[in-house]
């Protein structure tokens, strides 16, 4: 008997966008998987390919995008499926929340009716009373007090935090197997962020929904994710269990990123922050070999770093780094790098 396939298996996913200067390699050969109930963080800066990857999984890329590779949900290939199948899938097996989804509430419909509608679209057989019950249960799950009473209120009667919660209730309406959250906390004030993180924790702890958390915020990933994938210039450069990634990163980019973060809990005034030199690369004219090599302090030039694209190297249990020099990175911790370097 073959074991059950993972919830989501992405293999050698590539996405190119044609531009006047040639193809833009937004995603290049990304491979990862998400198991049932698992919370995976995907971190990267703008242009790292994290959002394009998320959109590709959901079949939401514009037509001009050239997509290659494979995306299988519980063993079934999604790439190339007709739009009608994908629509069915979205909101049922896979749900998504985006950073600007707040505006998606209809102001003249009660919050409960809107959450209920999401259920009705996919499950017309569910009776009105069962639907109502489910709506109240969902609002309770996301932490809305007096859910039965609040279900009849309109979006404008909700506070900002409550609206964020209701939006997540809507995404969970059909008990999806996977929730894709793209920058769910970006652009929100800190106290609103706290509300969103609280709901995501509730979802992780109380439902079986797996979460793909796409974000640039390493703090958000630290608290929520079990496993983390780090993206740079369209490629996955490191993947590790969350504790290993933060304590002992094995890709120079991850190491540099962690070392360069100012800390809320330390007195560092007066000493310079560690700084990754240079700028993120252009995705049209990407550096040869390892895309990070022009900014890397561990590089060996020209070969192999500027000549060969590094493949993933197994450096620990469930821990991979796409780096030719990863054994050198093992000797340095972010803390060492963070203190007193120019």
């Amino acid at each position: 008997m073959t074991p059950d396939p993972p919830l989501l298996a992405v293999e050698r996913l590539s996405v190119d966008f044609p531009t006047d200067d040639g193809p833009l390699h937004a995603v290049d050969g990304v491979t990862f998987q998400i198991d049932e109930h698992e919370v995976v963080g995907m971190v990267g800066e703008s242009g790292s390919g994290k959002t394009v990857t998320a959109l590709a999984l959901l079949g939401l890329l514009p037509r001009r995008a050239q997509i290659r590779g494979s995306v299988r949900l519980r063993g079934e290939e999604l790439l190339g499926r007709p739009e009608r199948d994908l629509e069915q899938l979205r909101g049922e097996t896979v749900a998504m929340v985006f950073q600007d989804a707040l505006a998606s509430f209809n102001p003249v419909m009660s919050v409960g009716a809107q959450v209920g509608e999401t259920i009705a679209v996919h499950h017309p057989e569910v009776s009105a009373s069962a639907r109502r019950e489910r709506v109240v249960e969902l609002l309770e799950l996301v932490g809305i007090p007096d859910p039965a009473g609040r279900a009849d209120e309109y979006p404008h009667q909700y506070s900002g935090g409550m609206r964020q919660r209701a939006m997540l209730a809507m995404a969970l309406a059909n008990d999806p197997a996977l929730l894709v959250a793209d920058e769910p906390t970006t652009a929100l004030d800190v106290t609103l962020q706290a509300q969103v993180l609280d709901v995501l924790e509730r979802i992780r702890d109380r439902t079986g929904t797996a979460i793909l958390l796409v974000t640039h915020d390493l703090g958000v990933v630290a608290g929520l994710a079990e496993r983390v994938l780090v993206m740079y210039a369209g490629r996955a450069v490191e993947e590790a269990p969350v504790d290993d990634l933060f304590a002992a990163p094995r890709h120079p980019y991850t190491l540099g990123l962690l070392a360069s973060l100012p800390r809320l809990d330390r007195r560092t005034r007066g000493s310079p922050l560690f700084r990754i030199p240079g700028q993120p690369p252009s995705l049209v004219h990407r550096p040869s070999g390892c895309a990070f090599h022009p900014r890397c302090q561990f590089r060996a030039l020209p070969a192999p770093c500027a000549t060969d694209v590094p493949g993933p190297v197994e450096v620990g249990a469930g821990h991979q780094a796409a780096c030719h020099r990863t054994e050198l990175v093992a000797d340095v911790t972010p803390q060492q790098l963070a203190i007193g370097t120019p």
Partner: protein, 347 residues
Amino acid sequence: MSAPAPAPPTVDDSSPRPLLEVRDLVKDFPVRGGFWRRTVGRISAVAGVSFDVPRGETFALVGESGCGKSTTARLILGLLRPTRGTVRLDGTDLMRARRRDVRRLRRRAQIVYQDPYASLNPRLTVGGIVGDPLRVHGLWADHGPERVTAVLEQVGLDPSDAHRYPHEFSGGQRQRVGIARAVVLQPELLVLDEPVSALDVSIQAGVVNLLDELQRLLGLTYVLIAHDLAVVRHVADEVGVMYLGKIVERGPADQIYEQPQHPYTLALLSAVPVPHPAQERGRRRILLAGDVPSPADPPTGCRFRTRCWRAQAICGEHEPPLETTPVGHAVACFFPGPEAGAGRSPR
């Protein structure tokens, strides 16, 4: 430290006069409505803010959208006229200065904007952008080109880039152009309005370090407006936490971060995700109920009381003054203290 009246200028070497003195600053904006666009109400964006910034130090104003920190920044620069209160730069009140002195005073205080994409004129070369303030102030004839070259070098750009346009640069480099433009007039005070929040994480550290370096090198005084509390901790000497137009807690940065006393400060600090998995998993965030009330109709008494788990009757009756607590910094709360409270506030 609760905002004494500005002392008369005295010559006293032991405590030199702060470069910037902000006293009881108030800014109301009229709310207009109806057919005649009459004033039907007032939004108090800044409702009595006071602080000093000693020469060479960094004062950070933190708070969430709508708290009044950006309006305060604009009042400091004289870009807005205060409804009440004073802003003194090196002892001179900008609003009462004689007209011919105003331009000279303005030169001494400059601003760095948040978005290096929107704040640079795309039709000017980098050299043109950085040289523009010199032209505006009639200083171009006095070694303008050399001055531009020197400043570009100072901010870590290649002077040969002077003929290139902003779109040819990355975000981090553009922010350096913005900083060069701000320091070219050799100001004493820089208002930094979210200087790194539009930048990618790997770029932020370089700009933060540059600001630190320039401060040391040029003796600059900074007013930093920021919402990233980790960046603020690294950069600021003093911090003022703003809520709905008022400073609710003010003091040395390390004290504010290590011994916060105001419930709002506690909530803010508890909410920032920290890049440390074990710490982050074990942490209890304080979740505030409701929204920030409208500045057109703020609560009586303490403005934070509608979301506060410590609120008592007195909080609605009187406004808590910003007073120094036993901990040693100023807090505007009748019940200051470090506890998050048995009640995380009701959701």
